[in-house]
Symmetry: C2
Subunit: 312 residues, 2 copies
Amino acid sequence: MAHRQFDLVTLGTGAALPARGRHPSAQLLIIHGEHYLIDCGEGTQERLREAGVGFNRIKHVFISHLHGDHYLGLMGLISSMHLMGRAQPLHVHGPAELKPIIDLQLRASQTYLRYHLQFHALLPESGTVAWSDSRARITVLALRHRIPCTGFVFEETEAPRHLRKEKVHVIPEHARAAVKSGADLPMPDGSIVPNSELTVAPAPVRRYAYCSDTAYAPELLPHIRGVDLLYHEATFTEQLAKRAKETMHSTAQEAALLAREAGVRRLLLGHFSSRYKSSDLLLAEAQAVFPHTEASEDGRTYSIPELTIVQN
Amino acid sequence: MAHRQFDLVTLGTGAALPARGRHPSAQLLIIHGEHYLIDCGEGTQERLREAGVGFNRIKHVFISHLHGDHYLGLMGLISSMHLMGRAQPLHVHGPAELKPIIDLQLRASQTYLRYHLQFHALLPESGTVAWSDSRARITVLALRHRIPCTGFVFEETEAPRHLRKEKVHVIPEHARAAVKSGADLPMPDGSIVPNSELTVAPAPVRRYAYCSDTAYAPELLPHIRGVDLLYHEATFTEQLAKRAKETMHSTAQEAALLAREAGVRRLLLGHFSSRYKSSDLLLAEAQAVFPHTEASEDGRTYSIPELTIVQN
């Protein structure tokens, strides 16, 4: 079985004011070799270079909202892709207002892109499908923030069913693809072997949810239930719960509450206010509620391993 | 005599594609304590932090043109100044098209700046005064580039005349300011002591010229003649002279020719194409024409010392 990669690289884990080695929001999600960029704060192209990621690997950029720390690196990236001779299309998914911002700046610099930039305006309604391809399906989460803001759920496509080792010899070569996709097998004598006797189910599909920036939003629960990894903003500690409410951000404890209610496997915190010298306190507050919590760091990779199917 | 600082800090010395430790264009010029930011490529706020410069020191930003590597860091800086509670006005001088770009992005993020952002549209005509205050006068240079592009000449205001040591005792306290500014001294007996007997001229005013991005532009000569420091782009070596012409950039040799013709004191090269692993060849080509040439590096400071007046 080919390795089906599902890796998250957190390129920028800081909040609005970059500080202490944390850059503004940007993440790279790699699903089966396809590279999806999530948010693109100022300097993201430099972070990508540091991570050794060629810009041409990126086919899709998803922008959550138009606060500067989530998108101000996009024009530079678009421009660098142009200067480096990119030919393949780039898909940019973001709030409708992002389109005129890009267009105005391309006009001002008299840049006529060598490649096609396909813009997709995001509908800020939870569950709406933003994009779907052979590797993944991306749906939208309507977050609670001061301006329209969307999160995303990335779900890999299901792998084919596995042939049972002891039955492989009875399945003719030409029928294997159909059987792997779930079909029963008609035999030469006219009988039918049910698929369940020939195959076992593939590993469960993996899902990653991105929630930044948002106040505590329990209405997201049905959309993020049981995800393998939840990235949730944790701008403040409980001591600043009032400030979190005013600015429509979350405390680390609120992020953990949502993770616990949603029954996710792992929680990854980020978007820490620059006032915190370290993430220790934020992490401790969250772990008290939901132990499977980590504090994200710039440049780190978080892999979601595929469950191994044990054939009986 | 108080120290009259005239320092240039080159924050970013690379061309359009940041690479090899060179960031996009940005410079900080400090004249008598006043901080002027010249161009503001992506990541400039991070460069300022690395240089230990508080954002509130900056009152003026001058943007040469609207290619991304010269201005894409501006929105992030404007936004960070806002988040950090800036109260004093910020003056932004740039092409007229920059104003709607700023406004559109402030609207999209629903940001209502706490401070006054005063925009000044630059007239791209050499010799036009862009700004004048008690420390300096800034005039415009019309550069030759693919889109409207201006350079700048920064000229410090003249210092007061120096009192001759041996004459200080004859000048009453209340008359000193007038004498320092050039007035003759009326004596109690009705006679007049001419100013030239009481004072010596102050150090000559210092001037810095910024020329990036531009093709070789000899029409600039009358405007940059004899400047103390000329920063001139040197995107290519002579081997790529054709490419320089096509893209309306300069070779290092052309920068040196202009410096020699203008009789400047020192030439500082920058805006090196990312194809060059080192600036050695660019520097050598320029020094062959104009020996007082240096290759700029990110984060370095270039001081223009005030000439000491030797009293005879």
